[in-house]
Symmetry: C2
DNA sequence: GTGTTCTGTGTATGCCATACGCTGTTCTGC
DNA sequence: GCAGAACAGCGTATGGCATACACAGAACAC
């Protein structure tokens, strides 16, 4: 419980600016921000697999090994990139705003953050959120649930549930968009093709529930359908949370 | 809508056994199953990063390039490994079983499948589920929702919601376990350290909701707490689904 | 001004996926 | 039976990757 000295991973200290500059050596020619920004530029242009140390170094006009003066491993760079790309969380819950619309805004913010930087979803998660932006997002998510009567663990579970759903959904739709772009098709066509493929594979065999699903036309995947699907899942989650809040208020 | 010819990705055709053997050449010395099993063996022993073509080939006593007679790229092998590792879905919904316990069983099955083969979560997803086991899981998930009055798109969204949550939760806990194993600690200690780290970072600054969270003790992370957290999220989702089913029944 | 410490970087190591072409095997068509 | 096609296994080569290590020079401490 001693607050004195809790060791932090190196990349986290770097991201929070907790590393003291030594002073004795030559001056650095780059800033951390420049390195991270260069990595993001590469990812944005050619995708995460294109982010190699040499490529990022080239972007900055320095030698490959110079990057290791700023980052101890490639994974650290990716962590910092991801945290930076999340950017500012949505505006905090307003004074007259209920927890539900606030949490819905927060959830949508998660989705748009990933859609703005689709490569984020391929960054291997290296641990629980400790980056400065991730912590700020966490703060806003928890703030949306203040005064609901939910216990600490419940508030935490709730925002994990919501952000997990948002991440899943954003990943799914981003995959679809990327597949469509790769094959120069419409996202709708990619979806329709999937249903055809599934139908062919399940035409014979013990798949009654899937055939039943395909019989009603799921493939009416217009743009509005996508939005509706997102909203459906979110509403289910928020309904569940609301039920808990209400029952908690009733018994207390 | 022509059911005649829908092109399928090569790895999918392989997994379903839809590839006809040519006959004209020499006999193959390996089976697909052997190759996939060898890959799984390596992943199980040393983790997904250890799965290289040469390592898998070594496991089978053949040359590296021989694998390319069975699989057109490494990604295909990973897809096949993941599908095989999911294995059989949970038992189908029994005749007297309600949709809710059946779906809960299905959700738990998702978690245990990932916990049994933790490397699964690092396999890059290459598209919507088409592998034979993935389709069978989908079938069982949808089957749990038969007769609930939910529309097709709603049944689909529901199982995506549930499986996404299960995958998220399994990933989180597996990450924790791996970090603990790597540093030879108790998972509890890893969790406790996280809260200390977060407390240190948010001690000063605009983080009232996080500090409020930390003030109640979230760190009572016993084994039962983990189970409770999983159950909490699942119950929220299922409560939300139940509310929809009820309202649907009331208006119809 | 001397020594220490840090920066940028060139070089080297040991991985990796995979393209290509060769050898020998098996079956097809005759 | 036999010619040739199609295919299996695999040796070699290519171009990429992260990163360990050592060294030159720069900036500061004393």
């Amino acid at each position: 419980m001693s607050d004195a000295h809790v060791e932090l991973p190196e990349s986290i200290e770097l991201a929070w600016g907790l590393r003291e500059r030594p002073g004795r050596g030559p001056r650095r020619s780059l800033t951390m921000e420049q390195v991270v920004a260069a990595g993001i530029r590469v990812a944005e242009a050619d995708g995460l697999p294109a982010v190699s140390m040499s490529r990022v170094a080239g972007e900055l006009g320095v030698a490959t090994m110079s990057l290791y003066r700023y980052v101890s491993a490639k994974g650290d760079l990716l962590d910092l990139m991801a945290d930076a790309a999340y950017g500012d969380p949505p505006a905090p819950r307003g004074p007259d705003e209920g927890w539900r619309p606030a949490l819905a805004r927060w959830a949508l913010g998660n989705v748009t953050a990933i859609h703005r930087h689709p490569w984020i979803r391929q960054v291997p998660i290296s641990g629980p959120p400790l980056g400065p932006n991730q912590v700020r997002w966490m703060e806003q998510g928890l703030a949306a649930l203040r005064g609901t009567g939910l216990r600490a663990a419940e508030r935490l579970s709730t925002i994990m549930l919501v952000s997990g759903y948002a991440r899943n959904w954003a990943t799914l739709t981003a995959d679809l968009d990327e597949a469509a772009a790769r094959e120069q098709l419409d996202p709708d066509d990619v979806g329709a093709r999937y249903w055809h493929q599934l139908a062919r594979l399940t035409r014979h065999g013990p798949y009654p529930a899937i055939r039943e699903l395909l019989a009603e036309n799921v493939d009416g995947a217009e743009d509005e359908e996508f939005e509706a699907e997102w909203q459906f899942g979110l509403d289910r989650i928020l309904d569940g949370v609301e039920a808990l809040i209400r029952s908690r208020r009733a018994t207390d």
